[in-house]
């Protein structure tokens, strides 16, 4: 049994790796776009423009109130019906994860920028910096310490949530695992392997987040 289990894992490895590549690329793209979008959100939210804030608020609440799974279905099945636009399931998953992640990261960035002393902004303006320079040289670098630990935690949530992509037909690592189980009935073994896969990706991130938080709050 033990040897046959190990054999099965070894045999399945290439197939699992393909699924893992899907999971990791969806996650990586989702993380990248979430970060870019989140920084943009955070900057826009601290400009003090009421109309901009209203739009951001609606966007945030939509992604807080509606489950990611519903968003996936809405875009994957809804867009073709209502707008005759269809997106491949892979990119649909990336899009939804990015929009959701950007709202989460955005709130973190907004909070970090908001927590800086008001005087930093005024001192920057007083030496004639424009908006880009103010955010690029003064505000964002100082917000970085405060926003990095919680942002890394959001990254782990993006990685875990990427598994929902199965439900719109993406063949990610979990789908591959299920296919192997259907063939071999080795559910404990395969789910154990999936458990370790997610654990060894997410745990280092969350440990890094905690380490950074410790180091930077005591600095």
């Amino acid at each position: 049994m033990a040897s046959s289990g190990l054999e099965l894992l070894l045999v399945s490895l290439p197939q699992l790796a393909q699924g893992a590549a899907q999971t990791l690329s969806i996650s990586a793209l989702g993380i990248a776009f979430s970060t870019l979008g989140g920084v943009l959100y955070g900057v826009l939210a601290t400009l003090g423009k009421r109309s901009v804030n209203l739009v951001l608020r609606v966007y945030l609440e939509l992604f807080r109130a509606i489950p990611v799974l519903v968003w996936l279905y809405l875009l994957f099945f809804g867009l073709p019906i209502f707008f005759a636009v269809s997106i491949p399931s892979f990119w649909c998953a990336v899009l939804v994860l990015s929009l959701w992640g950007a709202s989460e990261v955005g709130e973190v960035v907004r909070g970090a920028l908001h927590s800086l002393p008001r005087g930093q902004r005024e001192a920057g303006l007083s030496i004639g910096l424009d908006g880009w320079q103010l955010y690029g040289h003064v505000l964002l670098p100082q917000a970085l310490k405060r926003m990095t630990p919680p942002t890394i935690n959001i990254y782990t949530r993006i990685i875990k949530t990427s598994s929902l992509a199965v439900l719109i037909g993406v063949v990610d690592v979990i789908k591959v695992g299920q296919q192997i189980i259907e063939r071999t009935y080795e559910s404990v073994l395969i789910y154990g392997a999936l458990f370790l896969f997610f654990f060894f990706i997410c745990y280092p991130l969350s440990a890094a987040s905690r380490a950074l938080e410790r180091r930077w709050t005591h600095a």
């Binding site: 002393p117 005087g119 030496i127 004639g128 910096l129 100082q142």
Partner: protein, 257 residues
């Protein structure tokens, strides 16, 4: 000689509340004007209007003959000519002293690094902090940070410097080192607008005292006449509060000990 800075019928509101009322004030080039008045009288707001950190609502404000309250005003240009130093220094904490000093000259004014750095070093030497050029703000005392903040403004080669209660957050023993720097600028003939609660300093450094209360200028006079013979009852009251501390007995009474 025409005024470098001129407020005329200048008004400013925070919501419904009018914080500056009909301000008329002229500052000549090279003049040192100290603005005194009780807390909340609008003196800091007046300074902040001059570099666009606050938006004014009426009247006229000119700098070197140019109207600042027009829509066409490029505040980034104005701010390069009007240096401002704040109560809590607001150095950029993630940058070394030299990086703090060079940010404006390099990024805003696009000057050559060697030239800007030479100027920054000369100014640091002048305030006695050249050895701190690579230090970070958190490693410096309040007085040192405030002197750096002054140098940061000076590196932009402004025409006017605004000082907004720059010693109010400092420990008493650090007040002197900052005031000496400001006094040096006054001697050099720089145009200064100073908001302070240091009465002795105001008297020593000012060419003119402007006394404000509740958003109005009540009195403008030479320091000697203001401190010895204030024109308004309100200014008298204000000065009495400060002289009360000075008139306390130098040795404690028995009841106090």
């Amino acid at each position: 000689m025409s005024a470098l800075i001129e407020f005329k019928g200048f008004n400013k509101f925070f919501g419904e509340h009018q914080v500056l009322k009909d301000i008329d004030l002229q500052v000549r080039s090279g003049e040192v004007v100290v603005i005194l008045g009780p807390s909340g009288c609008g003196k800091s707001t007046l300074l902040r209007c001059l570099n666009g950190l606050e938006v004014a609502h009426g009247g006229s404000l000119t700098l070197a003959g140019k109207e600042l309250l027009s829509k066409a005003t490029d505040w980034r240009q104005v701010r390069q000519q009007v240096g401002m130093v704040f109560q809590s220094y607001h150095l950029f904490g993630h940058m070394s002293v030299m990086e703090n000093l060079l940010l404006g000259p390099l990024k805003v004014q696009k000057r050559e690094r060697f030239e800007a750095q030479a100027q920054a070093e000369a100014l640091l030497a002048r305030v006695g902090l050249l050895d701190k050029r690579d230090a970070y703000p958190r490693q410096l005392s309040g007085g040192q940070q405030q002197r750096i903040a002054i140098v940061r403004s000076l590196c932009m080669n402004p025409q006017v410097m605004l000082f907004d209660e720059v010693t109010a957050a400092l420990d008493p023993e650090m007040v002197k080192e900052v005031l000496q720097v400001i006094q040096g600028l006054a001697r050099d003939g720089m145009t200064l607008l100073i908001v302070t609660h240091e009465m002795a300093f105001a008297r020593a450094v000012a060419d003119r005292i402007v006394f404000m209360e509740a958003g109005r200028i009540l009195e403008q006079s030479a320091p000697e006449s203001f401190f010895t013979n204030p024109q308004t009852a309100r200014a008298q009251q204000f000065l009495e509060k400060f002289s009360f501390v000075e008139s306390l007995p130098k040795t404690p009474h028995k009841e106090l000990s």
